[in-house]
Symmetry: C2
């Protein structure tokens, strides 16, 4: 069940990985600078690797336990496909690998970026951006490679009566490796997020506020931990996260394609479409990456334009490519509408994110202004503004959902063919993420520039070097807004697609259990012929079924409780960090005079321990709750849970990301000399706002995106058990 | 269509109002104390009345506009029942009246409570509690009176072929006066909440933090405004709010009863059941109120026990009364299960609220402890703990929903008779609110005690008087936790019942439009015979319909945006207050030495203007959004909106209420001498946490409860328009 076009997918994956390798080698050829720079980079690198080792150990144990359970469910209870445990494992492995490679690159790149920035801004940009591109390309390359390999494997082994049923089995089985990726991603985001923010909050509170020393000052014992945190949270965490998003979108859409086009000749092509769009996106991302280069001595404005040009070119060309894909596969051209809607949705959300979080606009300036009346009003205003900022993204997603649905059904305003419409929503998510290779590059280079700045500060390089790395960092913040828009938007769309895929899994589970006929009201339908809507009625997934309502309530609550747990985890770990830094200032004589070196390693250890201890419970909760709800309330309760979690989680995630980002930039606005500038009372208040926002934007907020999808993935994998056993 | 039992309802209403009047007269007989006390009480009273006058003027205009629109829809477009505009008006009127009487009582009671507290704690309790009871009794009395009068009126005028259809028309028409009550309540809560918190935040920030003077110090220019705020926000706002909750629960349940028992002889009795339970609850509340009395010189422990005894007696007796009601009406005894479930749900949520917000327990102590590392960690910990605290209430509500549903369907585990089950959920809400007369009394007396304390402070009464009023206030905080649990829990249950009632309205709207037959799949059903589930399928209100999903997203967003708008409104108004207080300290010489009086009136004016200007937009949004969603997405979109708003709004409301309450008590914990006590760095940090929490717990949080129900009420009133006109 292959055609020649399929081979484009692994080919593009290999091209992406090849270029990632070339960029990596080229980066390594750069000089790491003087001895101090190397020593500091070494500290950070070792700290990061030590953390990751510890992290993988803990996650490894969790994976082994879950795999054992899956194996038991497959071979013992016969409630699950026997591929699941293995798929789960590979998903986790590849996701972790993407994060690992990204982080390895980043920790090698920071000193080199700082050193290149000694020569010129442009050189700094090149090293940092190409290193970011390594992660971008590794994520998309590994994802497409994993998808291709699984397809080949399952195509070889799965035996079904008809090609059509075989395609459905293959695509739904492949979805289960998404659960592995999501699980790994959640641990990486939560663990990394707790690590980085415990260090950041601790360093800021004692360093900036109490001792009055600048950020990244080598006298601050938590400063190395802070830099390690940028790598394990913002790089390794983000890599695993977006690997998960990308795979999730492609796989869910493939599964929906298999179901929606079940009875049609184009079924295989509908499955291939998301993969091909992604594959073309990889090539266009590469093209965009190569376009990011400016002449020597370019202004920051020009640098931004260079980055924008890269992203915009990829985005525009992907529209053309989508027409090509549809032409090659012989699908309806209406599908291209869904792709364009997806791209536009991502762009609008990105722009809205920028508006609400950049200090060039009113909302963030308003937050900064409220710093004049103290920290309480900064916090109130930040929360208020963050909440209001959810309006545009949500309305955009709603319009995107409706339009991509309608395009895929050729504007059938009666909303009859739900399956095809949902396929359109999936396609929109794939379109949004198709240029991930370059958008992730612009996102990942931010922490590299940030770390380069830290290195420059600690190595006491000239002020102009720090200014250049700051410029690079600021540039990264602007482009990262777009990246965040895409991440959040795609999570919502993919979340919807995954709920639909869940029903497909239920169908297969029923068939495995021998339920060949469904009785719906007075009708009797063959299970395999039942549409999505039929299943909705069969399980009474309407909004007046108390089981559905119970699920919605619990889903909404889950988002909040999960956020609360991760917020408190950061708070607890940060408090320990604060106490340790205070202790070192008190006990190690001569730190403040720069005569003796603080105990950096101890701070790294505190963050590591804090993160490892705290990440387990919230992450396991995300896995256990859908199982428990399934066992109590059955299928309708699970769908309620997923819908409630998606609705609340999506809005909460935007709120937390935007409030956090706005506080961060409000502080920067004050630091640029507004409202009294550094050292003023307003600045102190703004720093407190920024500190509150740290776990918002880098721990709880981004983890929510994964939570939404992981709960769906768990539901999908457990579909067989839910069908067979439930209380109500 | 009346039987003798019906007359119990207006009779109990009149008894309640009579006792309210007696308590009011008795309170007025107490002395208001010396000249200073009278003068200060006069300041507060005039400020509060001036505010309320302004508030009613603005709300009056809104009501007139909406009434005109309703009249046009009824007489011009023929899309609405012609009673609606008038019902809307009376609902608003009575709700406002409940708030007004409560506030008038409170402003007369505060100086009298302070004066009585000069004699003894017990005397203070008696005056304050009986004054609180005035509001409790007025709310339930007016509500039952309004309901009875409307019933008599409609029974006289409505003409329908069958008694059964007539009952349905009457109950659904009566629901529309709930919209008037909800609209009035939302304005009262939002306006009052902004007023009180702008004053409170402003007074605290400049007074406590900057100038270092205690709370309620007469040198603080915002202190009168702060006391006015307690009256307009916590008393008038709460009165209107709970009037709305109480009516909403009774009316929605009556409408569901009419529908669920449509074809049965017991239809009228099912309608009467919620009214009778409420009526018996009034009498038992009165009994409880009379039980609250202690001997002279009783300890605080004993006082608490006295209050508890009153509440517990009413609660236990209402269980007995519910069996009596069911017996008298000849309904199934299973219904009593739903009532008991409702009561227990309220109690558990109340206990959970107490656990998470009282400083006798770990969570709040943990927040206080995090004050040692500064304001940022206090805020992070408060938000984290608040989010986690949503778990128990949500799980309790889920269990409550499922159990009250199952009881009402005699444990039909197939969940077939959705209508009867939803009636059970409504009955649970009524059960929960049945003892509102006394729970509201214990809630409303808190602000009276608070104001008495303010009066004592400003009148420079002896320290022991302030200690006594503080003890009364603290007592109120504990019992108020239970009250809040009931308010939040009943909002969730009533919200569900209202969504179900919406479908009933749709049925009537379809009949009015001449749609006598529904085609659902291959079936054809008479509109009047269609069940709730049939309607769900007819409009495809399943979780895979993109219109439903769009509604859920928008509903979730609405909760956040509404909260954000009200938070920012408080922030803006508070900033103006801060600037004004700073200006007075700067410009009016001798304030700090107590030689010249600050300009209190100017601060009251700032809060009034701030509140009036800021309350319009968020309140109107709550009315407009359901209409717009209906016009675009039709019935399925509206139900999605209501479910999404309910799920997210409920959880968000608990989060905001608990986080705010916990911050408040964490500050009190420090002030009691823990962690360094007053004046320490930890105290400063805790005050900032408390200030952030002010709009959480007194503006945004409680308004959300009303938002949820108001959106449903708007949808119900606009059902005809939505049926006739929608885009998709």
């Amino acid at each position: 069940m292959l055609n020649t076009l399929f081979w484009i997918v692994p080919a593009c994956a290999i091209v992406a990985l090849l270029f990632a390798w070339i960029f990596y080698r080229n980066m390594l050829k750069e000089s790491e600078g003087d001895e101090t720079m190397k020593r500091i980079a070494g500290h950070v690198r070792r700290g990061a690797m030590a953390y990751l080792k510890q992290q993988y150990k803990v996650v490894g144990i969790v994976f082994l336990v879950i795999c054992a359970l899956f194996a038991w469910m497959a071979y013992g209870l016969r409630l699950q496909n026997e591929w699941v445990w293995f798929a789960f494992l590979t998903g986790g492995l590849f996701s972790g690998l993407a994060g690992f490679i990204g982080m390895k690159t980043a920790t090698h790149a920071s000193a080199r970026t700082a050193n290149a920035a000694r020569r010129s801004l442009n050189d700094g940009l090149k090293v940092a951006f190409r290193s970011g591109a390594v992660m971008g390309l590794v994520v998309v390359g590994l994802a497409l490679l994993d998808i291709s390999l699984w397809w080949l494997l399952l195509d070889h082994f799965v035996e079904e009566a008809s090609a059509s049923e075989k395609a459905i089995i293959i695509t739904t089985t492949m979805l289960t490796f998404g659960m592995g990726a999501s699980t790994q991603a959640l641990f990486a985001r939560v663990g990394g997020g707790i690590f980085t923010k415990a260090a950041d909050v601790g360093a800021d509170l004692v360093g900036k506020v109490e001792a009055g020393i600048p950020e990244d000052d080598p006298r601050n014992p938590a400063t190395i931990a802070d830099n390690v945190g940028d790598n394990v949270g913002d790089v390794a965490g983000m890599g695993a996260d977006l690997y998960e998003s990308y795979c999730g979108a492609v796989l869910a859409t493939a599964a929906l394609g298999a179901a929606a086009f079940r009875a049609e000749a184009s079924q295989f092509n509908a499955i291939l479409a998301p993969m091909l769009i992604a594959a073309f996106g990889v090539v266009l991302s590469l093209l965009g990456i190569f376009m990011v280069r400016t002449r020597e001595g370019a202004s920051q404005q020009k640098l931004l334009r260079a980055l924008d040009k890269g992203i915009n070119t990829s985005s525009v060309l992907i529209i053309g490519a989508s027409f090509l894909v549809v032409y090659l596969l012989g699908l309806s051209y209406w599908i291209c509408g869904s792709i364009i809607v997806g791209l536009l949705t991502g762009i609008v959300i990105g722009k809205a994110t920028e508006y609400y979080t950049s200090h060039g606009y009113k909302p963030t300036q308003g937050i900064a202004k409220s710093a004049e009346t103290g920290p309480a009003t900064v916090v109130i205003k930040g929360i208020g503004t963050g909440m209001i900022s959810t309006a545009i993204p949500v309305i955009t997603i709603v319009v995107g959902v409706i339009l991509s649905f309608l395009f895929a059904t050729e504007f059938d305003l009666k909303f009859v063919d739900i399956s095809k419409g949902l396929y359109g929503i999936g396609i929109a998510a794939v379109g949004m993420l198709s240029t991930l290779g370059i958008t992730l590059a612009t996102d990942a280079y931010g922490p590299i520039a940030d770390n380069a700045g830290g290195n420059a500060e600690m190595s006491k390089l000239g002020k102009e070097v720090r200014q250049r790395t700051d410029a690079l960092d600021a540039l990264g913040n602007t482009t990262a807004a777009t990246g965040k828009g895409f991440a959040i938007g795609s999570a919502a769309l993919t979340g919807l697609a995954l709920i639909a895929s869940y029903i497909e899994e239920i169908k297969i589970a029923l068939a495995r259990m021998g339920t060949t006929v469904l009785e719906i009201g007075e009708r009797t339908i063959n299970t395999v012929d039942a549409t999505l809507t039929d299943f909705m009625y069969y399980y009474d997934v309407t909004l007046m079924n108390p089981k559905v309502l119970a699920g919605i309530f619990i889903g909404s609550m889950m988002s909040f409780v999960f956020c609360g747990l991760t917020m408190n985890a950061v708070g607890r770990a940060a408090q320990k960090m604060v106490q340790e830094v205070r202790r070192q200032f008190r006990e190690i004589k001569g730190i403040m005079e720069g005569k003796s070196e603080p105990d950096y390693a101890r701070c790294v250890e505190i963050s590591t321990k804090g993160a490892q201890g705290e990440m387990i419970f919230p992450s396991l909760l995300a896995i256990i709750v859908p199982v428990v709800i399934g066992l109590i309330f059955g299928v309708s309760g699970v769908i309620g849970l997923l819908a409630g979690g998606l609705g609340t989680g999506f809005v909460l995630a935007i709120f937390m990301a935007n409030a956090g980002g706005a506080w961060d930039n409000a502080k920067k606005y004050v630091e640029e000399g507004n409202l009294g500038g550094k050292g003023s009372e307003a600045h102190k208040a703004a720093v407190i706002g920024d500190t509150v926002g740290d776990p918002f934007k880098d721990t709880s907020g981004p983890s929510l995106n994964i939570l939404i999808k992981l709960m769906s993935m768990v539901a999908i994998v457990m579909a067989g058990v839910t069908c067979a056993h439930h209380l109500l």
